[in-house]
């Protein structure tokens, strides 16, 4: 594992991808490699792109890569697609929109499957961001799965979240609902050449105007609503995505200038510690319970109403936590 982290720190792409894979597959001792890496992280700007399936996240990400490369940034992309709840397999098709960057050594694109996670990303995303970070990518774009209303885990990982909306998905009540519509630092109305885009723009703007302090205590950041039109007009499309890039960077600068970055980092780091605690404390206990069949005996007690989940949990806790 130390060998692997050494290669990653030297910039070896395949080693980096393998390390991410070890994290996804939860290979024992992978944390040893992560221990070597953790201290060197925290330099990249992490950008989340989220929105409904087919909203255009991958296509926007592709163009955003170009926009950042033009500016001299290096880019890491983590593209998440869903795992089948039936077969455990996945069709990872985001990078089909990003093929032109395949040979650019300043761009590293890695596809991940959700592996059962329900928050719009996969469990390994947080750590995969660290891996991209030590590969010295200055911008790391996380493209979530196509989300609905409440898959908002991206806020635990991204400094800047862009929510992609498209016309025709519902009336203005949808814009008032909690969840996805609350997490945007930037709104993108994509496919804005289509019918209903003007209405969606107004509704979104209305919703933004109503928010008391423009969200999350980030006082003074006025959430922009950007229009991006058809990809079939490449020059215009590229220009709107460059405007998006500038807004994303402006937001990052805003977080730095107002000392808000530390707040986001604290949220991210707390989530990571939670994960690590879960992995270190609860997982071995669960493994133990499964290994000797104790878990079945406990479930039997519940099915026959001989006990309740709360008493059993307390019992298990008293046995392991001394």
């Amino acid at each position: 594992m130390k060998e692997l982290s050494k290669k990653v720190l030297e910039g070896d792409i395949r080693a980096a991808s393998r390390l991410i894979r070890n994290l996804e597959d939860q290979i024992p001792n992978t944390y040893i490699a992560m221990q070597e890496i953790f201290g060197k992280t925290g330099n990249a700007h992490v950008v989340g792109i989220t929105g409904a399936p087919g909203a255009g996240k991958s296509t926007l990400t592709d163009e955003l890569i170009c926009a950042y490369r033009k500016k001299g940034d290096t880019v890491g992309v983590l593209a998440v697609d869903p795992t089948s709840p039936f077969s455990g397999g996945a069709l990872l098709g985001d990078r089909i929109r990003m093929l032109r960057h395949a040979e650019d050594t300043g761009v590293f694109i890695r596809s991940l499957a959700t592996r059962g996670a329900m928050g719009g990303i996969s469990k390994a995303v947080g750590e995969a961001i660290h891996v991209m970070d030590v590969l010295k990518k200055s911008k790391i774009i996380v493209e979530t799965v196509g989300v609905g209303q409440q898959e908002v885990d991206i806020i635990n990982h991204a400094h800047t979240v862009a929510v992609v909306l498209v016309p025709g998905m519902g009336d203005e009540i949808q814009a008032l609902k909690a969840g996805l519509m609350e997490i945007a630092d930037i709104f993108i109305i994509n496919k804005a050449d289509r019918d209903g885009a003007g209405k969606l723009y107004k509704e979104t703007l209305n919703m933004v105007n109503m928010s008391k302090d423009n969200k999350n205590g980030a006082q003074g950041w006025r959430i922009p609503v950007l229009l991006v039109e058809s990809v079939l007009e490449p020059i215009k499309f590229a220009e709107s995505v460059e405007a998006l890039r500038d807004k994303i960077d402006e937001h990052y600068q805003y977080l730095i200038d107002n000392d808000l970055l530390s707040e986001r980092m604290r949220r991210k780091t707390t989530a990571e510690l939670n994960e690590a605690l879960w992995g270190t404390i609860l997982q071995p206990i669960l493994k133990d319970l499964h290994a000797d069949g104790e878990i079945n005996r406990l479930v039997d007690k519940l099915l026959t109403k001989a006990s309740d989940p709360y008493s059993l949990a307390a019992e298990v806790a008293s046995k392991y936590m001394k």
Partner: protein, 134 residues
């Protein structure tokens, strides 16, 4: 205990734009529990090799129906070898005449599937011949 999932890159090198077959196979692999990275048509061998490394796949599946397999398939295998990724299994499929097969095997293509091959036989071949990395 291994939680390893088999990762497969499916790609169509060259100018052939007929990807119905590749899509059917992508779907079949998904249902077999593999993680499939599908990158579609019109790719150079260089692009395919770069993606294979970035995605740390176990298998690269190439599809070609245009007759250019004798150049494109070996080229992908060679680029992977040059980058020290000899452990990635390269397989191919499409309209491949019998007489071309020996050359392709020699160039490092591990198996060739031609019209009539069943989806089950593909999955079985991968399960039997590919061990995800430890």
């Amino acid at each position: 205990m291994s939680n390893r999932k088999i990762r497969v890159l499916l790609a169509k090198p060259g100018l052939d734009g007929h990807d119905r077959g590749a899509r059917v196979i992508a779907r079949c692999f998904r249902d077999a529990g593999f993680e499939v990275i599908y990158t579609g048509c019109h790719q150079t061998p260089e692009m395919i090799a770069a993606v294979a490394l970035q995605e740390d796949v176990d298998v690269v599946g190439l599809s070609c129906l245009s007759g250019a397999h004798n150049y494109l398939f070996p080229q992908v295998a060679k680029l992977l070898q040059d980058k020290g990724a000899n452990d990635i299994t390269v397989i191919g499929g499409g309209i491949i005449p019998e007489k071309d097969m020996a050359g392709l095997y020699e160039a490092g293509i591990k198996e060739i599937f031609t019209p009539g091959a069943t989806l089950d036989s593909l999955v079985e071949w991968i399960n039997n011949n590919v061990n995800p990395k430890e």
